[in-house]
């Protein structure tokens, strides 16, 4: 279980509020987080990844503590073994598609299976600037997978894909997740991105 019990004050002078999350996500499954715009979904993912520090509380994976305010402990981002698909992709403008994946893995056959998965084979040599919105989004997904992360955090990862492409990709992703025993946490506004009944839903709401 990923046990989350954190608090964070968000925003300063204007329209600030307090994000409070007390929940647990099952390992090796897909959990979908939903909630209105601006409620703190992205912030929650960043807290799990270690990119943002909560003001208070604890975060642990099974017995392993990742964050504990009282003990002043925070596991380093690099050691959390997470993959992250950023809402705005955050691609490396200096790297081609291929180089993005090489940055995460040395395994050439895994790399080409990823390119296959994302249907990005023909764009290997392209830089992010030279890709369409949907192509950039797929690259962001593939890059996150390249390190074979134990935990995969997806922040609205399919918004730029047409429904057929999305179906093909989510299907392939599902079998990859099973194979790699990935724990997936997905933020999305659409229900059942990976098919019905296959995922747990967590609705984030204001306090």
């Amino acid at each position: 279980m990923i046990n989350i019990n954190i608090e964070k004050q968000i925003g300063g002078r204007y329209g600030g509020f307090r994000l409070k999350v007390d929940t647990a996500f099952r390992l090796n499954t897909i959990t979908q987080i939903s909630g209105p715009s601006g409620i703190g979904k992205t912030t929650l993912l960043k807290i799990i990844a270690g990119l943002t520090t909560p003001d208070n509380g604890t975060l642990s994976v099974d017995e392993e503590v990742w964050f504990d305010k009282e003990k002043q402990f925070s596991k380093r981002v690099q050691e959390r073994e997470v993959g992250f698909v950023f809402q705005d992709y955050a691609l490396f403008s200096n790297m081609t598609v291929e180089q993005h994946l090489k940055f995460g893995t040395n395994d050439a056959s895994y790399m080409s299976s990823l390119l296959e998965l994302g249907e990005m084979n023909q764009f290997r040599k392209r830089y992010p600037k030279q890709l369409s919105g949907g192509q950039q989004q797929r690259l962001a997904i593939l890059r996150a997978l390249s390190t074979k992360p134990r935990f995969l955090l997806l922040d609205e990862p399919f918004t730029a894909l047409d429904s057929e492409l999305k179906l093909r990709i989510t299907t392939r992703l599902k079998s990859l997740f099973e194979e790699q025993k990935t724990t997936v946490i997905l933020v999305s506004h659409l229900p059942n991105e990976f098919g019905k009944g296959d995922c747990h839903v967590f609705a984030l709401s204001g306090s």
């Binding site: 990119l51 690099q78 992250f84 490396f92 403008s93 200096n94 940055f103």
Partner: protein
């Protein structure tokens, strides 16, 4: 007209630029991270040498490096290093003098990079170091080239500092800028023109070369 000063100048400018790349890039990066009053002061200090006339800066360096001085004696005893009237001293002085031209443009460039770019690298398990070299630095390539060209050109033309702590010794510290200065001083205008032309030609080639390298590799087909 002798060619030795020209070679000496190119050597000095090249070595200085290389050193300054090694020093300036990390310093600029460090300064571009979270600002605090301490960094502000460091930054102000880096800019300081600029406001002194070069020959006066040279004078202070001369005193600082002087073998009559505690620091100079220490250098001499422990490293057998003599900084006044030696090529090594010129390098050190040029580094101090040109530091702001390297650091400032790089710092501005680093501070323009979006934070999410490094975050994306950290979650991939990459250390700060690796992120720096593979993600951040390549993304400010144009600024690196700019800074290197400014530094190189500026060191080529540097003169006051060099004259003061170098002492115009042929083959050791008599660089092209001093030779051309001497030529003008002695009213030998044809030699001055010849030197100026050579310096221009060299810089012209380097500038053009760097800008060609720097030409954005990524071209949109729509432009």
């Amino acid at each position: 007209m002798e060619m030795e000063p020209i070679w000496l100048s190119i050597k000095l400018a090249t070595i200085t630029t290389i050193f300054l790349l090694f020093i300036g890039i990390p310093v600029a990066y460090w300064l571009s991270r979270k600002q605090n009053i301490f960094k502000l002061i460091i930054e102000a200090f880096i800019t300081m040498p600029l406001v002194l006339p070069p020959s006066v800066l040279g004078f202070y360096l001369l005193i600082a490096f002087s073998p009559n001085n505690a620091f100079g004696i220490w250098l001499h005893q422990h490293f057998n290093l003599q900084l006044v009237f030696s090529f090594k001293g010129l390098i050190l002085a040029s580094i101090i003098y040109s530091l702001p031209f390297m650091v400032s443009p790089l710092k501005a460039a680093f501070s323009h990079l979006p934070k999410s770019m490094s975050e994306a690298s950290y979650v991939m398990g990459k250390s700060k170091m690796k992120t720096f070299f593979y993600v951040l630095l390549p993304n400010i390539k144009p600024a690196v080239f700019t800074a290197a060209v400014l530094t190189f050109a500026h060191t080529l033309g540097e003169f006051g500092v060099v004259l003061m702590i170098g002492g115009n010794i042929p083959g050791e510290t008599k660089v092209a800028s001093i030779a051309i200065y001497d030529a003008v001083e002695t009213l030998d205008y044809s030699a001055a023109n010849a030197y100026a032309l050579i310096l221009f030609a060299i810089t012209f080639i380097i500038v053009i070369g760097v800008f060609v390298l720097n030409r954005n590799a990524v071209k949109s087909p729509f432009e």
